[in-house]
């Protein structure tokens, strides 16, 4: 296939752009891609994971069109000053507070990148015991539910006491 830009060199980059559901296919060679200065996957320095990400970030969820809550233009992290608009352009957070500030908007993004939104891995030791207690309580609650469903009430009662005990300790910590 020949590059659709210069019509001379063989096209080595093939990609599909979808804007508002409208699909456009591109077949171009590397040197034209560079000249056009587009951030296209695979083109030397022009491409970064961040420019790809920003494509995922740069949309206003339908629910926010009603004017409830701050719009994407004004949402800003008070800690480092990064705006959501800047974040969606560069695809990187400025500080850890950004995660809290932009939290509502992050779920769809994280879901697309990771298929998940909640951490389940390693926990730092110093904040660990509290989180581990919490995870344990959640796990026991799920088990309690299934024991009750299976009518294993004696076991369920034991679990209930254990959960209460853990909850008390959690509240005290």
């Amino acid at each position: 296939m020949i590059c659709q830009e210069c019509g001379k060199r063989p096209a080595t980059l093939h990609f599909t752009k979808i804007v508002n559901g409208e699909k456009t296919e591109y077949h171009i060679c590397e040197s034209c891609a560079r000249e056009k200065g587009e951030s296209i996957p695979g083109v030397g320095s022009g491409f970064s994971i961040h420019s790809l990400l920003s494509g995922l970030l740069d949309f206003e969820p339908a629910s926010s069109g009603s004017g409830i809550g701050p719009s994407l233009q004004t949402l800003r992290c008070d800690e480092c000053g990064l705006t959501y608009a800047q974040f969606s352009k560069i695809g990187r957070f400025g500080c850890s507070e950004c995660y809290r500030k932009f939290s509502e908007r992050l779920d769809p993004l994280l879901k697309r990148v990771h298929g998940n939104t909640v951490h389940v891995g390693k926990i730092p030791k110093r904040s660990g015991s509290r989180i581990q207690t919490k995870r344990e309580i959640e796990r026991l609650r799920r088990e309690l539910q299934s024991r009750i469903e299976r009518e294993e009430f004696e076991y369920a009662a034991k679990l209930r006491d254990k959960i209460r005990d853990l909850e008390r300790r959690f509240a005290e910590s």
Binding site: C80, I90, S96, T117, V120
Partner: protein, 359 residues
């Protein structure tokens, strides 16, 4: 003469030992990303902030707390000259980003180069552990131990819901990127590679060629790594990578056996030709060198070429990079001159290993 240990040899100490499945898996790597609480990420940090971060993290190494892991050197990037930084990149000990764009960037480097800890790269702290062969779990365990040592000294940016907070949302959660570098010449020769690689991307893993541009894999070297860092535990992430890599190993082995059974002469001809060219050519482009070295390595693994060390592939892939060549010959070179020097270097390396007895 080299100012620093890392410039003396192209092959890192850890690479000289053969790990399990070393005929296919060249190396296993785990890197974890961490940030310090209350400090902006490096991108938005002031000079003052990033200097404090650097000092805090370097202090952990200087205080001897990493001693139980091994001996370490520390470097402030701005103290290294351009060539030294380039060599570190070519040996995969630091990222191009740390070498060229970091502010108050620093490096804590293990003496055997199996551990390299980058400071003020995209995140405050990036711990990288490398093992030879297929030892992805060992790499994680070491990285996690080092992580614990740092965590005892500095408070990490950690969120109960999102996990370890990172500058880029693609790393958040576990902050782990585990990868295996695989040499897959038989799958490429038998044209099965694309089918396998596209299957890989469907199970949360990604693959890229090593040293190649984009998807092109120079020297049939492929790096396979996890893409997901959030919502899976480290063990799940490693298990997934492990079992996929294990399957690829089996496919590559089967492909090699089939090549030997069905077209042994053609394969032998190919690897011997490549050996002959490497041992005699006067001009050698990097692309051709990578391909020919891959052939020779395949020949060694299949028992068709003897008296050449299998590490020749990795070693030459590093030594024949522009920075290392410039360092070895102590001169700045045009690309054309580099091709001549590269040929000279490979000739010498192959020649010296086969003086007694030949191929």
């Amino acid at each position: 003469m080299a100012r620093h240990r890392f410039a003396r040899e192209a092959l890192s100490e850890w690479m000289k030992v053969d790990g399990p499945d070393a005929d296919i898996v060249i190396s296993s790597r785990v890197r974890i990303a961490r940030n310090i609480r209350h400090y902006p990420f490096p991108m938005l940090a002031t000079n003052q902030h990033s200097r404090e971060v650097m000092e805090k993290l370097l202090a952990v190494a200087k205080s001897g707390k990493l001693k139980e892991i091994g001996g370490f050197d520390t470097f402030v990037l701005s103290d290294l000259n351009e060539l030294e930084r380039r060599i570190l990149v070519e040996k995969h000990l630091i990222s191009p980003n740390l070498a060229n764009e970091s502010r108050n960037g620093a490096l804590i480097l293990g003496h055997n180069e199996a551990v390299s800890i980058m400071i003020n790269e995209e995140d405050h702290l990036r711990i990288q552990c490398l093992y030879s062969g297929f030892q992805i779990r060992e790499a994680w365990e070491l990285a996690s131990r080092i992580d614990d040592i740092f965590e005892a000294e500095v408070e990490y940016a950690f969120d109960e819901k999102r996990g370890y907070l990172t500058s880029c949302p693609t790393n958040v959660g576990t902050g782990i990127r585990a990868s295996v570098m695989m040499h897959l010449p038989a799958l490429v020769l038998t044209q099965q590679i694309n089918r396998i690689l596209s299957a890989i991307t469907q199970v949360g893993l990604t693959v890229r060629g090593l040293y190649g541009e984009g998807s092109e894999a120079l020297g049939n070297l492929f790096q396979i790594s996890n893409q997901i860092t959030l919502g899976q535990s480290e063990n799940e992430i490693l298990d997934n990578l492990y079992s996929v890599a294990r399957q690829i190993i089996e496919h590559e082995k089967a492909a090699r056996e089939r090549l030997m059974a069905e077209s042994r002469m053609q394969v032998e001809d190919r690897v011997r030709r490549s050996y002959g060219i490497l041992a005699n050519a006067a001009i050698m482009e990097s692309k051709e060198a990578a391909q020919r070295l891959s052939d020779v390595r395949l020949g060694i693994d299949l028992g068709l070429i003897r008296n050449v060390r299998p590490q020749i592939l990795n070693e030459m892939m590093v030594m024949t990079q522009p920075g290392y060549l410039q360092y070895l010959f102590d001169e700045k070179m045009s690309p054309d001159q580099r091709d001549i020097r590269r040929a000279e270097l490979i000739r010498k390396q192959l020649g010296s290993k086969t003086e007694h007895g030949g191929v």
